[in-house]
């Protein structure tokens, strides 16, 4: 009992102090919801069981007092006062038939929810700020090593680049002047000249390979070039009617015979 008595006394003292504080220091409140939350503390109950009606009454008393003391109240405090007055009437009077909108209990429940949520956020904030904190309770590396920046150039090439590069070279090869390879190329002009000279001295069918110039037999590159040129020259001469060409079978030796002798 004694304890209860004390507590009640304490409460009334706290209440009086709070009430004074409210009036003197209205600027210290973070809006009407904050003020309501402060007022609700005097009810000493769980926020879910708060008496919104009682809270509304206290708030309206506060606003009245503030007016008496000619304290300028921010507009939102007055908006809240008007709304609480409306809520109070809704809670006290039975709903009129055909009344639109939410009931007083619904509105009160939402206000209680808002207060509870704000209180919850305040508690959460306090817990958050009370955590071990970087630079106060735990620490980062004091002597962070600087990253040395190494700038490297990375060369890139795609497969297409590579293929195009190679194609470029090979294409260039096609354009390479013959003069470069003259030593291993026997031209058709050369072959023609040589065969015209030789044709008169041959009788009957002779192997085309016997027309190849000396020194062009062993080296495969040279032999190929000379063979091709001689063959082309033979066709040219056949076209001119100067010789005949025959081949007895596929891949059989190609033989030539001069026609000039006869004519």
């Amino acid at each position: 009992m004694a304890e209860n008595l004390f507590e009640e006394q304490d409460t009334s003292v706290a209440e009086r102090l709070a009430a004074e504080a409210l009036i003197v220091d209205v600027e210290g409140f973070e809006g009407p919801l904050d003020l309501l939350l402060t007022l609700s503390r005097t009810q000493k109950v769980d926020l879910r069981q708060i008496s919104v009606l009682e809270l509304a009454r206290q708030y309206l008393v506060f606003v009245e007092k503030a007016k008496e003391l000619r304290i300028e109240l921010a507009a939102d405090y007055l908006v809240m006062a008007a709304w609480l007055a409306f809520l109070k009437s809704r809670l006290l009077l039975p709903p009129e038939p055909g009344d639109e909108g939410p009931s007083g209990d619904e509105l009160a429940a939402h206000l209680a929810f808002q207060l509870e949520r704000l209180q919850a956020m305040r508690d959460a904030a306090a817990r958050l700020m009370g955590r071990d904190r970087l630079g106060r309770d735990f620490f980062a590396r004091g002597e962070a090593e600087n990253m040395t920046r190494i700038s490297t150039v990375q060369y890139s090439a795609s497969l297409l680049d590579l293929m195009q590069g190679y194609a470029r070279i090979r294409t260039r090869d096609d354009f390479r002047p013959f003069v470069l390879d003259r030593e291993s190329v026997f031209t058709m002009e050369e072959a023609l000249e040589r065969m015209r000279g030789l044709l008169g001295f041959t009788g009957g069918w002779t192997d085309i390979l016997s027309y190849l110039p000396d020194g062009w037999h062993s080296d495969p590159v040279k032999r190929r070039s000379a063979t091709a040129a001689t063959f082309a020259a033979a066709l040219q001469l056949a076209k001119e009617g100067k010789l005949e060409v025959r081949q007895t079978d596929t891949f059989a030796p190609i033989q030539l015979r001069s026609l000039e002798e006869d004519s």
Binding site: G31, W83, P102, L107, R122, L128
Partner: protein, 213 residues
């Protein structure tokens, strides 16, 4: 990527113990948390920083410094119980106003959250200075715009916030589960259309330049 055995052997990763040393060196050298991705880039090809980190974390359990997770990054931090030794290193934290602390908590617990929602919860308008201060401290940043009329910007907390408060992720906020279970993290609209707490028409729309950049 397809590689034959020859290519594989060329890029063989160092043994795990060696990878652990590497992770250790990199984490020690950095004052800020290092992401797994960053570790991957720095370490030789084929390394598995994740596994190395796990080993390293175990190794430092109970020691004077710990390996801690901060979001998707990792850092070494001194054990909180040894803070008393560090008066020299203690940095005077910028004093935050009550409004800033509450706003920060609301952003952390309700993120992503719009300015209007913060105001709804606090029952008072949020000053520009408060948001600016939190942005400047890099404890909050802009999140995605909300897909509601006006597409308001949202705020979320940053890795720096997690680092400062020693949180692995925003899911580890103290009491988060209980608050959610109690329905206190819901954005419950007021019954009817009656605005509470002096809720003025959205300030975001009046000052769109504030948070857009």
């Amino acid at each position: 990527m397809p590689q034959d055995s020859a290519a594989d052997s060329l890029f063989e990763a160092p043994p795990l113990a060696e990878q652990e040393r590497m992770v250790e060196a990199v984490l020690f050298a950095s004052a800020t948390p290092v992401t797994v991705r960053d570790l991957e880039v720095r370490m030789p090809h084929g390394c598995d920083p994740g596994a190395a980190l796990e080993h390293l974390r175990k190794r430092y359990e109970g020691r004077g410094v710990h390996v801690v997770r901060v979001g998707d990054a990792w850092a070494i931090r001194t054990a909180p119980d040894l803070g008393f030794l560090m008066q020299k290193e203690t940095t005077e934290a910028r004093k935050l106003s009550r409004a800033a602390i509450e706003t920060l908590a609301i952003i952390a617990y309700h993120q992503p959250v719009t300015r209007a929602e913060i105001e709804e919860i606090r029952g008072v308008s949020v000053s520009r200075g408060t948001i600016d201060q939190l942005l400047e401290m890099e404890w909050i940043r802009l999140g995605r715009r909300k897909m509601t009329p006006g597409r308001p910007v949202t705020f979320v907390v940053t890795p720096q916030f997690l680092d400062h408060f020693g949180l692995e992720s925003a899911r580890d906020l103290p009491g988060l589960k209980e608050l959610r279970a109690a329905g206190l993290l819901e954005n419950r609209p007021p019954p009817g259309a009656v605005p509470l707490g002096g809720h003025e028409p959205d300030e975001d729309e009046d000052q769109p330049e504030l948070f857009e950049d």
